[in-house]
Amino acid sequence: MDAIRRIKDEDAILSIDFLAGFTIFILSLIMVISLVPGVLAGIQSDNIDYDAVAYRTSVILVEDPGAPDSWNYEWDYPMIHKADMQRLGLAVDKETPNILSRGKVNFFFNLSPDFIFSAEEYRDKVIFGDIPYLYNISLKVDGESKTYYAGGGTEVPDYQYGYMRRLVKVKEPSSAEINFTNYPGQYTLPLDRNVTSITSDFSVLFPYDVLINKSVNPAYRIDPQSERVTINLSNICSDLNKSDLESMNFAGIAFRREGGGSEIGSLVPWKNETYSLMVNEMPYPGSGGEEVLVNSTNPLITLILYKVPTDEVHFPMFVNFSFSHVFKNNFTDHTYLSGIHRYDYNTSNVTQPELKDAVMEVAIW
């Protein structure tokens, strides 16, 4: 038999038994270590807090004017501008939470035919978050029978969902309802009997220095830069002597600056996207259109100015409605229509912006 050398501890020999045991230990240690992150992951709740998302969405809609905060894109290729919108907030101004702008409400709820938001866009610009939430956003305005729903929404489910109800007021834009029977003697001028025809302008003046008054609460401010202004002319001949008038025609409109009377470039009448001119609710071109007989029919002339560009609000603006009068004979002195109507905060001139109660409900699941 060979002499067997005693194995000492510093001999580099590992028994198979040791290796086997150590390997088993290491393998199970690796398994356990890979399970440890699962302990921490358990702290994240499985339940998504839908109520928090609904609350946040309602705050963005109701208290935030949005980014950009003035989105009157009713003209000039509206769909292109959708990508610029980062956040859809409906408030008039950041100083007026819970007061919504009518223009923004119309866009958001897809009430404007050219401007449609898809479900993806609502998720990106209002609801945010990585999860594709289902939503139902609705608005009901006092006095309007229809409830408005955000496009792409779905019916509220039977199971639990996050919910928030907010009370708001919707700011309706101002308008000038110029019914000439209410302004007797104010907008007529005399004409010598021998002059048998005359073309005159009836102007509506926008005195921006008075209108854009920073001390007026934005909830009540008339701001042509961010909301529409409407002019309605009715009963145009009521103050004139109809029997004296052979014919009176409406020929068109022009936008002019004060004093110099130069035309405002961006509002040139033929570019009929910046405003909408209607006679008896039918579209009518700003200039070059067929003349409308005013004295025998009694048309309603409506001008909606969607947005005045910011560069234009430094000088008062005149909107001139031009009328041509032809008189029958020269037996009596004539009167013709002319005058300047101020679009300002005077309630007898302009129907002021009105705040209507409304309720908004946001459901997320």
Partner: protein
Amino acid sequence: MNDEGQLYTIEGITAGVIMLVTAFTIFNSGLVYTPGDAHISDMQIQQLGYDALAMMDTPAELGPVKESPLAEMIKAKNDAGFKSEFNRYLTLHTGTTEFVDSLEFNATVFNRLKNSGAGTVHSYHFSNSTMSEVSMLTREPAISVTRYVWLSDRPGGSVDSEYDNGGQLVLLEVLIWRR
């Protein structure tokens, strides 16, 4: 060669078993506790109440009379008007979800009496909903919402111990709870 019985393998297996059993015990035992959110309905009531008071405190138009409807109600001590108006706001809904009318409220006005120095706070009950007294035995918590209201003058018929003379700021505090 050492041929004595060594227990490395068994020790390795034992150690492994100990670790794995511990790991599975811990992960299966539901140690992580996520408390349920019991305050969601409180948050909703609070926001609704604030919104209702804010809307009542906003005049519908920029008129010569700058006083809000709420201020006029307080000045006239119109508790019935406040009750119906506040109730109307609380029950406004769009019809999207099933609406349950379950809120009761109780409104108190706090105002300052100058006397001398900083002054003292005087309060009086202003208005409440119809079933508020009966439903005060509810288990639900009451949420307090407040609003400052500017009065152009003290309510008519007030005496000096109730109200100082002249325009002042008062605090309207409304407690709202579910029946």
